[in-house]
């Protein structure tokens, strides 16, 4: 494994596909697809518009796309996430903004579903729709087969934030208890909709 972890810096943008077997930290921007056997961390100020298939996912920034995490998903207070989510363990902290469907059951089934949907009709997949920015994500990734239960307020009680000890244990590899980067400057890179539209509902 690498002696350095992989970091996509603040001023860097990648469009395309990223695959690998090590931890990835995104501070800048990634559009496309991310497929890792390890952890993905989307830091505060980072923007990821991609279908994500990883082991553990920690989000403090903005993420739009279908998410499959074979181990856990941790949405930190500054997270803004739009897209369906499949993972056996899901943690959402107070302040995190999320819209989409959550599936805490069979990850493999969800993974297959995402894959087949991407092949069958890419134009209709949530991530493709989301790419037509600056249309607000409200229209983008909302496969409302479930009645409007998708409201954050209604889902919230189901996801109880675990005690601090458990939280750190859940994201063993790449999640430092506190993110080193400070709020402010970097966040200005986020598009306007990422800052307000989700909140406004």
């Amino acid at each position: 494994m690498a002696d350095k972890e992989t970091v996509i810096g603040v001023e860097t943008r990648i469009s395309g596909e990223i695959r690998g077997d090590e931890d990835l930290v995104v501070k800048g921007r990634v559009d496309g697809k991310i497929h890792l056997s390890q952890a993905l961390t989307v830091e505060k100020g980072a923007i990821v518009q991609a279908d994500v298939d990883v082991r553990t996912l920690v989000v403090a920034g903005t993420l739009v796309g279908s998410i499959v995490a074979s181990e856990s998903v941790h949405l930190q207070p500054t997270a803004r996430v739009v897209g369906d989510l499949a993972s056996p363990r899901v943690m959402m902290e107070a302040g995190a903004a999320y819209r989409g469907r959550v599936d805490m059951g069979e990850v493999e089934a969800a993974r297959a579903a995402v894959a087949s949907r991407a092949v069958a009709k890419p134009a209709a997949s949530s991530s493709e729709a989301a790419k037509t920015r600056p249309a607000p994500p409200r229209v983008a990734a909302t496969p409302r087969t479930v009645a409007p239960v998708a409201s954050t307020t209604k889902i919230a009680p189901r996801f109880v934030a675990p005690p601090a000890g458990d939280r750190t244990a859940a994201a063993p590899v790449s999640a430092p208890p506190a993110f080193p980067r400070v709020a402010g400057a970097a966040n200005s890179a986020a598009p306007a909709w990422a800052k307000k539209k989700i909140r406004r509902r």
Binding site: K4, T6, I8, E11, T12, R13
Partner: protein
């Protein structure tokens, strides 16, 4: 130091653009464009056109490389493609195939 690092087990297929330095230990296919330096480490493989201020190659690069300041091929470097830079350094042991344009 490098702000963006592509680790040894990472494969990127697409385009990397940025304003900061980039260190590659893994594989990148597509296109690389940055305002700062690009470092291709010894075990790295790059199949991409590279556009940067300075480019330092110790690994394997296939593609056209444009450096606004300097291109350096280290002894372990293997490069196939056209090189364009005002200053080009090729170390003893480096292999290179392609055109050189130093804008003279």
């Amino acid at each position: 130091m490098a702000n963006t690092v592509i680790g040894s087990s990472i494969v990127i297929d697409g385009e990397i653009t940025g304003e900061e330095s980039l260190t590659i230990l893994g594989t990148v296919k597509g296109k690389i464009s940055t305002a700062q330096s690009v470092v291709v480490e010894a075990a790295a493989t790059v199949e991409a056109d590279v556009d940067a201020q300075t480019v330092l190659i110790s690994g394997k690069v296939t593609g056209n490389v444009t450096a606004r300041e300097k291109l350096e091929l280290r002894p372990e470097a293997k490069m196939v493609g056209n090189a364009k830079a005002p200053r080009i350094v090729v170390a003893d042991g480096a292999t290179f195939k392609g055109n050189v344009d130093m804008d003279v």
